[in-house]
Amino acid sequence: MYWILPRLANGPVEMMPAFKSVVARDFTLAIRQGGSIGTAIGFFLTVIVLLPLGLGPDQQLLQRIAPGALWIALLLSVLLSADRLYQTDHDDGSLEIMALSSTPLEVVVLAKASVHWLTSGLPLAIAAPVFGFLLNLDTALIVPLGIAMVTGSVALSLLASLGAAITVGLRQGGLLVSLLVLPLYVPVMIFGVLASSGAQSGIDNSATALIILVAIVLAALVVTPFASAAALRSYMR
Amino acid sequence: MDFSAPHMGFVISSYAITFVVLGALALWIFARARSVTRRLKQLDDEGARRRPTSGQVET
């Protein structure tokens, strides 16, 4: 049973240094290895460019689908950048050493997901409304889209990190991660798009949708660290 | 039931696909059960398996 439940011997005060150290290390690594933020944004742009090429350059059509298209590009970029989130830590033995400490693995998971959000979800969410110009995005939607994306990408990062944890010991994880995580993305995307689309057929539900989006983020914050840590522990033994 | 009613083809197709899919599922499960039983029996005959009922005490 203990492999699923964290050891709760220590209070939260002692977990903070470990949390901070993992955040600092992963952030340094992300910056130093470079490319990760750039690649995610490059992928995002590629999806955005492919859309008009597939759908035709109709400005009105593009304006209508812009929020949804940007959300799809966002969730694909976040998902693909999280694919190998735990891989190096698993392969080089760091994860085991972290498991052999008073710090619950859940804290490590949260730290790594936070860095993933800081280096992919957040920059993409900030860049997306700007790239919206390529899709003739209604300028009135820039702010609500940005707010919804910054919020929703937290859940996207957490769920993607869960997918990464579930497939960490597997050789071909990539496609499997997509199959496992995309169904979990459905509610985030629906409420994300609703929160960033403004009024539709006369009714503006975006405020309600944003509140529900926040609720989904909170639920993901509660569930995914435990689920991810349990998955990581299963792969260690 | 009126077989000359419009869209009757869709009704018949629905029941047919249900029958085919459930039948295939059942056949697959039966086939698997049979091959497992056969393999277990084969292992027993070779004496490779200790039967859980013979040497060990059940709780």
């Binding site: 203990y2 492999w3 050891r7 011997a9 002692e14 240094p17 470990a18 901070k20 150290s21 993992v22 600092a24 290390r25 340094t28 690594l29 130093r32 290895q33 190096t88 392969d91 080089d92 033995g93 760091s94 085991e96 050493i97 972290m98 498991a99 052999l100 400490s101 008073s102 710090t103 260690m236 033994r237 | -």
Partner: protein
């Protein structure tokens, strides 16, 4: 999973050496003791008044596995600093001295040789004090001088009342060690 009929005790201040052919289960046993694997049966007991007998060793264990748990894009000092702050404080300078890494402090880990990487992995032992050391082939890739450094570190740990369980092919110059031989054991368990 791989062994049955094991019975052994590791004593404070003594080293228990695991010997046996490849695949005998030395690594599995070390992982089992660390709490990184579940036994199919049997018990592990801790005889320490301050701990419950069924306590998981987990956080009281230094586990040196085949992988060195180092990040190639961080320098030697940064690697040790990370583990030090992760464990809530440690002696980075002391750890570098113990494994003779001070001159390499600012080197990126990817520029280290295999032996130097191993030393960096082993330096974790001196970084934070933990009573039980589980060492899986700790001498792999080490030259004689580094083996001596490791032996010194282990002797100091044992003198301080620590426990070491190590699987090794080389006789380390460490006094007071018991041997658990998997080869003879396998026959008994047969």
């Amino acid at each position: 999973m791989v062994f049955a009929g094991l019975d052994f005790t590791a004593h404070a201040g003594r080293m228990l050496v695991l010997r046996g052919p490849n695949g005998a289960g030395k690594t599995s046993l070390l992982r089992l003791i660390a709490g990184l694997a579940d036994p199919a049966g049997g018990t592990l007991a801790v005889e320490e008044p301050s701990l419950p007998a069924d306590a998981l060793l987990g956080e009281h264990v230094h586990f040196i596995a085949h992988q060195d748990a180092i990040k190639l894009h961080l320098s030697v000092a940064e690697n040790l600093n990370f583990w030090s702050s992760f464990f809530g404080g440690g002696d980075v300078t002391g750890a570098m001295t113990a494994m003779n890494l001070a001159a390499l402090a600012e080197f990126q880990a990817q520029r280290l040789s295999a032996g130097q990487k191993r030393r960096l992995g082993l330096a974790r032992l001196a970084l934070v004090e933990k009573p039980v050391w589980l060492l899986d082939e700790p001498t792999v890739g080490l030259d004689t001088a580094s083996q001596a450094l490791l032996a010194d570190m282990m002797t100091r740990h044992l003198d301080g009342g620590g426990i070491i369980i190590a699987s090794t092919h080389i006789d380390l110059p460490v006094k007071s060690s018991d041997v658990l031989d998997f080869a003879t054991l396998g026959e008994r368990a047969g």
